[in-house]
Amino acid sequence: MDVSLKMDEPVAESLLDTTNQNIVSQPVDRVEGPLKVSGTARYSAEYKFPGLLHGVLVSAPMGKGRILKIDAGSIEKLPGIVTVITDYDTFLRNPAQGQDEEAPEQGVRDVSYFGQPVALVVGESFEAARHGAQRIALDMRPDEGRFDFAARKHMAEPKKRSRKAQGDLDAALAAAHATIDAIWTTPSQTSAAMEPHAGIAVWEDNKLTLYGSYQMLASDRLQLADALGLKPEQVRIVARYVGGGFGGKLGISAESVAAAVAAMRLNRPVRVVMTRQQVTEATVRRSNTEQRIRLGADAEGRLTAVAHETITANLDRSSFSEPASASTQFLYGGQARLFLNSIVRMDQLLSASMRAPGEAVGMLALECAMDELAETLGMDPVALRLRNIPARHPMDGLPFSSRSLAECLEIGARDFGWSDRDPRPAQRREGDWWIGVGMAAAARSNMLIKSSARVMLAPDGTAVVETDLTDIGTGSYTILAQITAELLGLPVSSVEVRLGDTDFPPSSGSGGSFGAASAGSSVYLACESLRQEIAEKLGIAPKDLVLTEGMARHGNVSRPLHEILSGPLTAIGTIEPGEMEEKFVQAGFGAHFCEVGVNAHSGEVRVRRMESTFAAGRILNEKTATSQCLGGMVFGIGAALTEDLMHDPRNGAIVNHDLAEYHVPVNADIPALKVRFLEERDEKANPLFAKGIGELGISGAGAAVANAIYNACGVRVRDYPITLDKLIEKLPPA
């Protein structure tokens, strides 16, 4: 029987606390692990079709202007070239934002940023198409572009809906015992998932199938259909394995539309894979930000004023603005408050969501401002944070659904040995290295998105789960198998999870840390319904039913499923957000503690130790959850120390558009990191009592590094990343 639940009330009891199968929360190995480590998991570019053609996108060689001519004749005699696809109206100007239900802006005759894909060269082989794309004659009229953020930031337009204000900020700051008023800047960043954006389009019987590398298939399908003028029923997207997303694959991008247009025109399957440079230049970036933070506190360290104003950049008509103050709004108290985002219009690639949009860079500013405030007050940074945990949301007065921030701070500090810290900078020296420690809090909003899943239980004690959720490395396959196994009393190996196909019930997709909780809840509801059906067949109350090892038990009676079921049972579960998200602030919390060494001669920074403690409701799989947090922490280290997507202010080109020049952390940059989870249950969040963790780890992580650098060597750098050139002149005498 199909069932749905809208989260209008807390869930009184979760079956996961009563079924006692000891499967959920356990560190179960990834169920698809053997396929991934043996190279047999098939990603989107890896499907084989007879007659497959290869497309390579042609990138605009200027940052602003108009295409006058793309001369197919200039390459058509090259061996292996099939055709040049130009469709100035249909090709995407820029990718879609996640969850949009319409196509993003289309039209590429006018070039809006350097590297914008404007045509597709199709060849019988990849080598032929690549050669053609490199050689094709492209005539373009250059226009004056807007490429210099520093020169344009005074023209930032306030985003009215982002403004939130309370109390008299100026008066509160004037009356404060201690204040901080400073500007932090963060550069553009790129998701840099290891798998480039890739799509194979197959057009058959008036139906398009796209093997695509995307995160949110249900909305991606609507975007793709809209872009191509097709009905959604004519479009299917398959993404069984996705080689990382981090926000970069939320909405559709140029390669899928180009592949689809080519496949529909040529009546042959067409594969388009972006080059690494195209991924960097023509998908999405996290906007650079300029953040002004003002804090005021009384003599006891109680915040009285909190202001967080952010300037970001984006293309014309794109309204997204990195919500850097997202967690600042509820993390700490203080009566007078101001939050505002402004957008500078630039001719640079789309700004959109990258892992933890908002907190990822907002906490780089806020949590360093808190460190500076603690120093000004002569307080311990942990104590300052503990003192300012608000009883309720400081503006709308809502209670928190669950929050273990204080415990994370206290337990994290104890385990790390924080009490050994000397608050005075540049006191600890080991050989050529100044050693210091720093900390920061973590917070990330929790969300629930409408999501459906089908669960089929067969009499032989096997189950199949189907939903269009993706597993972008997050552990979806595994946790959905665990939830099903737990609730139906089966071993994990008896559950087959099928994901990443729009032929399956639509899910939340992967993004915003909501995939596990949303899709997991839909699977929970379907399994709960199956349990009720079995109980009915046995004539007992569902609460008296015990399912374990493929047997149904009640009282002293135990019967195998095949005796009870004459055929497979199927249920579709659907979860929807409801009043719980309007009545409670829902977020995960944590605390990072970090030790760095700063080279006394060169200013090189090495992270030596990092330990982070998180609480995010029930942890569904300790192993995969730990990996999610480790990944977030490393993203934070990258943001603090190395990641800096550089735009040439003369022509808008991205100077470091590949993995040799855009520096994501490598193995040698990362010591053995530690993650600890605290026990928590959130009955207001969903029936699993779980909250999202995919982005919590990055929130505050880089700030802990920055604060440790200050403690090590006494240099505050508010312009990320903290590269050695920004430290070297200010280092204490070696």
Partner: protein, 171 residues
């Protein structure tokens, strides 16, 4: 061009465009999809394979240069039903998330452990002539040609260490 490539102990006859890299020959012509393309410029390590036992970036070398070489890909190290010790350790330690860099990491680690066994020093070796330590620093340094954006580095080092220590005990 007509060539014969020896891959995972088996000869394959191929007619290839001379511009075809080893990586594209594997992926597009032999359906050996385990070797991944992350950058096509030798910057990420996802395409790492072993050629005559030595790890290389297969995107940076042309297939026509490798007639007579013994090429080993991830598919040659183990299968889902019979994983190699490193493959099994990567699963047990969760040394990956999305899985895209993983075959390259495992091929690289396979070659790297042989380099250590042969006594090759690295940038972080204190003594260039002594047998290298199996320390986290040595393993991290030697694995830094393989990027992992999911950032499973801590777990990758743990997985490799477990296998290396077991192998040392066996010796």
């Amino acid at each position: 061009m007509h060539i014969t490539l020896s891959i995972n102990g088996k000869d394959h006859e191929l007619d290839l465009d001379p511009r075809t890299s080893v990586l594209d020959a594997l992926r597009d012509h032999l359906d050996l999809i385990g070797t991944k393309k992350g950058c096509d410029h030798g910057q990420c390590g996802a395409c790492t394979v072993l050629v005559n036992g030595r790890r290389i970036n297969s995107c940076l070398t042309l297939a026509v240069m490798h007639e007579g070489d013994a090429i080993t890909t991830i598919e040659g190290l183990g299968t889902p039903e019979a994983l190699s010790p490193l493959q099994a350790a990567f699963v047990a330690h969760d040394g990956f998330q999305c899985g895209y860099c993983t075959p390259g990491q495992i091929c690289s680690a396979t070659g790297m452990l042989e380099e250590m066994r042969a006594g090759w020093p690295s940038h972080v070796s204190e003594d260039l002539l002594a047998a290298p330590d199996l320390s986290d620093a040595e393993i991290s340094e030697r694995m830094s040609g393989n990027l992992c954006r999911c950032s499973a580095y801590t777990n990758i080092v743990a997985a490799i260490t477990e296998v290396a220590e077991a192998r040392d005990e066996a010796v």
